[in-house]
Amino acid sequence: MTDLYAALAAASSLIFSFDRDLVEIVLLSLRVSLTAVAAAAIIGLPLGGALALFPFRGRKAVMVAISALMGLPPVVVGLVVYLMLSRAGPFGALGLLFTPTAMIIAQCLLVIPIIAALTRQTVEDLWEELGEQLRSLGAGPWRALWTLLWEGRFSLFTAVLAGFGRASAEVGAVMIVGGNIDHVTRVMTTAIALETSKGDLALALGLGIILIILSTGINGGAFLLKEAAQKSQMS
């Protein structure tokens, strides 16, 4: 129990002293994860919708692959992105390794399958429901895609939140491609891993508590906003 009290004390002293290093780490964590999720949404939403609406050869295989990739192990994604961005790798000349951009790329790859798979399901269900109507209105497939994405926006929002949860919680990928460099690529999860390895369990758990407050705050706030929007939509 003493560890837990010490952790709570560490967390509150970090928060209330407005620790500058902590603020920097929190802002970088949010910047990396939110950018990654925004990029993943821009790619994953249309991709999932297109998979639901457009028949093509091998569509089933792509659908299975994307669903399967929802469980991608972050550490493997990190390793692959590392090999791509390493100076000895194909994109080495860009010099992106050990930068926040590399971390965004890795998290984006982790989140795309989640958003795409959930979007496909949502759009497919909506198509069953509204397809007839859309066809009778003479909507082409592209028009139908955007309409259904819009109609499904509340469920899709939840899909994006699921993606954010995945991105903000993972440590394996950002550790490898970011290098956990102080003031440059250190984020909440890698800082927690670092303090654990230094044996400062109270500080590690304190940081963990702050991460939980942040992620529940963002997810909860987003959920409430969605509810409010949905309710006002109905009335």
Binding site: R31, G95, L201, L225
Partner: protein, 282 residues
């Protein structure tokens, strides 16, 4: 009407949140930096936090440290993902230079390894002078030994000591010999939890905050010497290497100012690293 407003609020919330962070670009202001691949013992102990501000204010060169095990640090540098390599396994460093990846190796500083274990000391090794004989005792008694198992400098040192002790640890894997496959701190956490013996570098040990029941049982054998060396990654092998700034960092480390700065780093009155740079590199 209200619906539209709430809706817009949600959109603003989302994109505002995203845009705030897409825009910022930390690190852009300081484009002049080098990447140093180093070990967890130097970074986690706080050494870099102590000496780097001195170097950075003197030269304006930011030093970005990627702290991993020695084996991984060497591989990073071989692939050209670092400008400078600062690790603690002389044979690997010399091979790195001989293979053409590094320019020249310089001694920087030293400390030593210690054998730590549970206070109850089930294999009775406390105070032994001969580290190889001391390590053979837990092996014979099948008392648990936690190994780094990660190809780090400490792991390589440990394997050398097992050889000197005539113990075949490969056969004991999973039995009394447990490879954690992780960093020094994580391995100390594991050793504490298992009541196991382990080999640690003194810097990590002193700065480690979760010692619990563990304490130093064997120290002082000459074979426990732990030398750190620094090498500039070869520009001939990797043309993008920031050779000038990297060399400046190395020159500073081995200079009287850098060496004094290393000597001044203490935790609880204990000096963690002892500078021993020679004029000439090897």
């Amino acid at each position: 009407m209200r619906g539209v407003r709430v809706h817009r609020m949600a959109l603003v919330f989302l994109f505002g949140l995203a845009a705030t962070f897409v825009g910022g670009n930390p690190g852009a202001a300081e484009d002049r930096f080098i990447i140093v691949a180093s070990t967890t013992s130097t970074d986690n102990s706080g050494l870099f936090g102590h000496i780097l501000p001195v170097f950075e204010s003197e030269t304006g060169i930011e030093v970005r440290v990627v702290a991993v095990g020695t084996g991984q640090a060497v591989r990073l540098a071989e692939r050209g993902d670092a400008d400078v390599l600062l690790v603690h396994h002389k044979p690997s460093e010399e091979k790195f230079v001989a293979d053409g990846y590094g320019v020249r190796r310089f001694d920087v500083m030293y400390n030593d390894f210690v054998v730590v274990g549970p206070r109850s000391d089930p294999a009775a090794v406390r105070g032994m002078d001969d580290v190889a004989a001391a390590m053979a005792k837990p092996a014979a008694a099948e008392a648990v030994f936690a190994s780094r198992g990660d190809n780090s400098g400490t792991h390589k040192k440990e394997l050398g000591l097992w050889k000197a002790a005539g113990v075949d640890v490969a056969a004991a894997g999973g039995n009394w010999y447990r490879e954690t496959g992780s960093g020094m701190g994580a391995t100390l956490n594991t050793a504490g939890g298992l009541g196991a013996y382990t080999l640690a570098d003194r810097a990590t040990w002193i700065s480690f905050r979760n010692k619990g029941d563990l304490e130093i049982l064997v120290e002082g054998d000459a074979r426990l010497f732990n030398q750190y060396g620094v090498v500039l990654v070869s520009r001939e092998r990797h043309p993008h290497v920031k050779a000038e700034d990297g060399q400046r960092f190395i020159d500073w480390l081995v200079s009287p100012v850098g060496q004094r700065s290393i000597a001044r780093f203490e935790i609880g009155g204990q000096q963690l690293f002892h500078p021993n740079a020679k004029k000439e590199g090897s």
